[in-house]
Amino acid sequence: MRKYKLSHIRQLEAESIHIMREVAAQFENPVLMFSGGKDSITMARLAEKAFWPAKIPFPFLHVDTGHNFEETIEFRDELMDRLGVNLIVAKVQDLIDSGRVKEENGFNASRNKLQIPALLQALEEHGFDAAFGGARRDEEKARAKERFFSHRDEFSQWDPKNQRPELWNLYNGRKNNGEHFRVFPLSNWTEMDVWQYIAAEDIGIPNLYLAHEREVVERADTYLAKSEFITLTDDEEYEMKTVRFRTIGDMTCTGAFKSDASTVPQIIEEVASARVTERGNRTDDKRAEAAMEERKKQGYF
């Protein structure tokens, strides 16, 4: 008899597609949170696959700190064009301008925390009842217990003790008015799986992920890209390095590291031999061991 065998990457793909269709069917008004990073690009591909030959039946939402790499925005706009999806941009700057939030000041100032109110306001304003996020359980300890369908109360809070048990692939998206869900279709993927999938599917990614020359400053064991949003201290200076990014987010807290990996297969090799986690280069995670969990409770992605 023929062997009906599905490789692990195709099993993960099938699971993620199933979840995306389930959300489209169970919720009135879902949205996909698109950060421009490789995980959200992978989600975009999975969404494309899930509904093909029809268009993706929900909009994308970009929470924009204003501290963007130009490449990310260009890449984002081209992709939205090709997919024909409606993009909503929630600007942190707008919240600051309207006085609803206050910006951090000084050295190491970051708008990272301000993403939370910007996101929550956008969810509320558009009445989204489910928001896809690209988080993976392997990223961080606090995420290991996250559900695929993560219930948030009317204050958008995540209560680790009060999550619904998730059995088989039966997902319970029932909710009361005002509550919503975060849904993580990539929960079971590792960083390696994502890269292998990008290679296998030949998915385009922003050049920031590939080795390139750039002016950077060394800070907290990582390199930050030169930008107008960073203030140097007296003993810091910019230098030219061949670097790449392992994650892409706000310019002020997304670190680069030295690398010569300039193709996806080379990245895969590098990831295979990597000795630090991808978030290891994010200064925002270094602030406290339980940092992520704290932010999750507040409604962070």
Binding site: K3, Y4, K5, L6, S7, H8, I9, Q11, L12, E13, A14, E15, I17, H18, R21, E22, A25, E48, K49, A50, F51, W52, P53, A54, K55, R137, D138, K141, A142, A144, K145, P160, K161, P165, E166, L167, W168, N169, L170, N172, R174, N176, S187, N188, T190, M192, Q196, A199, A200, T263, P265, I268, E269, A274, R275, V276, T277, G280, A290, E293
Partner: protein, 426 residues
């Protein structure tokens, strides 16, 4: 590019094993998982640094590998894990997803949750204590959830002088108990999670043990046959209707194959309507496949325009699921609020939503002895029992034993919306 390419291809050929781990508190489960992750090089330097730092702070003599799997801060303070946590590692041929379920007495609920998606269960016992009540409970749950493979790890062998006698004694104890269970494949491995004996490397301290290490066992156990490739079942999840000129009359049924194989040209029947048609195409993204099978997510088109929507089931005319509203099943209760006799609940079964009433609690099971509990039909948190429900509309189902996807359902409280029970159809 060429060598990389081969590696990438090899990776694309890797298969997947999902397993759950269970043991009672302090049997060494966290240490074992930490050991597996550490020895398979799935722990990164920055994670290790944090762990070493935490270990130092706590005054441990050696780096406590158990901290690797330690999740949320509240739990860190209490020093126990309280929910299912998922971990990942891989070896060159296989990727592993661990559903790490805590051993605390009252957390049957978590074990059931973790086991529901697992192909294999690793159950730990402490070599000094042998088979205890909780070992029996864990095994029973694995069996109830139709896990086909159990690996019984006898841990802390270092504390019993790596004694072959002790290992054999425990193996016999477990054998006599497990003969009552429905688990076809059971492995026994003597280990020391703390020192690494027989976890990844073969132990020099136990030359008398001729079997495989735990990792070797996990890498080589065959799980393809755990899927049902005989009874064709396709619960319709979503109807794809592109609003575009290119696909003007296209109508595709999207979903995850829940059993058997579907090919173009196959005659199929749609339930509940009973209309038959022939499969035109089975597709994944931009690609028509020759055949599709469990657990693929696909889109199917039919030759005839028949009315099919989410919650319907496509099967073969000569092999159909049972259609019925009076359903007998085992339930595991997951919620603080106990089961209400004659209570009304919502249910989810495959892609179908319905409501049900609990008609009868037949019996409750003592999960330590597997005996029926006489005279007590109250099903509360962490209890397992047999019940009969009546649904508001027919379900298209198989027994859980025959098909985990079409034989499982969840019960939901209509007021709190919480998932209150897991049901396995008999």
């Amino acid at each position: 590019m060429s060598t990389n390419n081969t590696d990438a291809k090899k990776y694309l050929d890797m298969d997947l094993l999902r397993f759950s781990t269970a043991g009672s508190v302090d049997d060494g489960k966290s240490t074992l998982i930490g050991r597996l992750l550490y020895d398979s090089k799935s722990i990164f330097d920055d994670q290790m640094e944090k762990i070493e730092e935490s270990s130092r702070r706590k005054g441990d003599e050696y780096t406590n590998l158990a901290l690797i799997t330690d999740g949320l801060s509240a739990e860190r303070e209490q020093g126990i894990t309280i929910d299912v946590a998922y971990r990942y590692f891989s070896t060159p041929n296989r990727k592993f997803i661990i559903a790490d379920t805590p051993g605390h007495v009252q957390y049957t609920r978590n074990m059931v949750t973790g086991a529901s998606t697992s192909n294999l269960a690793v159950i730990l016992v402490d070599a000094r204590k042998g088979v205890i009540e909780q070992t029996c409970r864990h095994s029973f749950i694995a069996s109830l959830l139709q896990i086909e493979h159990i690996v019984l790890c006898v841990n802390k062998m270092d504390l019993v002088d790596y004694s072959e006698e002790r290992f054999k004694e425990i193996r016999e104890e477990f054998r006599s108990f497990s003969s009552k269970l429905d688990v076809p494949d059971i492995h026994y491995i003597p280990i020391s999670a703390l020192y690494g004996d027989n976890v990844v490397e073969k132990s020099e301290n136990m030359p008398w043990y001729g079997g495989s290490t735990l990792l070797y066992t996990l890498e080589n156990v065959q799980v393809d046959s755990d899927y049902n490739h005989v009874d064709s079942r396709f619960p319709v999840q979503w109807v794809t209707r592109p609003q575009s000129d290119d696909y003007h009359d296209y109508r595709g049924y999207a979903g995850k194959v829940a059993g058997g194989v579907f090919k173009p040209g196959d005659e199929v029947i749609a339930l509940p309507s009973g209309f038959t048609s022939t499969i035109d195409t089975v597709e994944t993204y931009q690609k028509e496949e020759d055949e599709v099978y469990q657990p693929m997510s696909i889109t199917m088109t039919l030759e005839d325009d028949i009315d099919i929507s989410r919650g319907d089931m496509i099967a073969k005319p000569d092999n159909q699921p049972t259609v019925g509203q009076d359903i007998d099943m085992m339930v595991c209760w997951l919620n603080k609020e106990p089961l209400q006799a004659n209570g009304k609940y919502a249910i989810k079964h495959t892609t179908k939503d319905a409501r049900c009433i609990i008609k009868e609690v037949k019996y409750k099971v003592n999960i330590n002895t597997l005996h029926r509990v006489e005279g007590d039909k109250n099903i509360g948190l962490n209890d397992i029992g047999r019940v009969q429900i009546r649904t508001t509309e027919p379900l298209f189902y198989d027994s859980y034993k025959q098909n985990r996807a079409t034989g499982s359902l969840i019960i939901i409280d209509e007021y709190t919306n919480e998932t209150v029970a897991a049901g396995m159809i008999i």
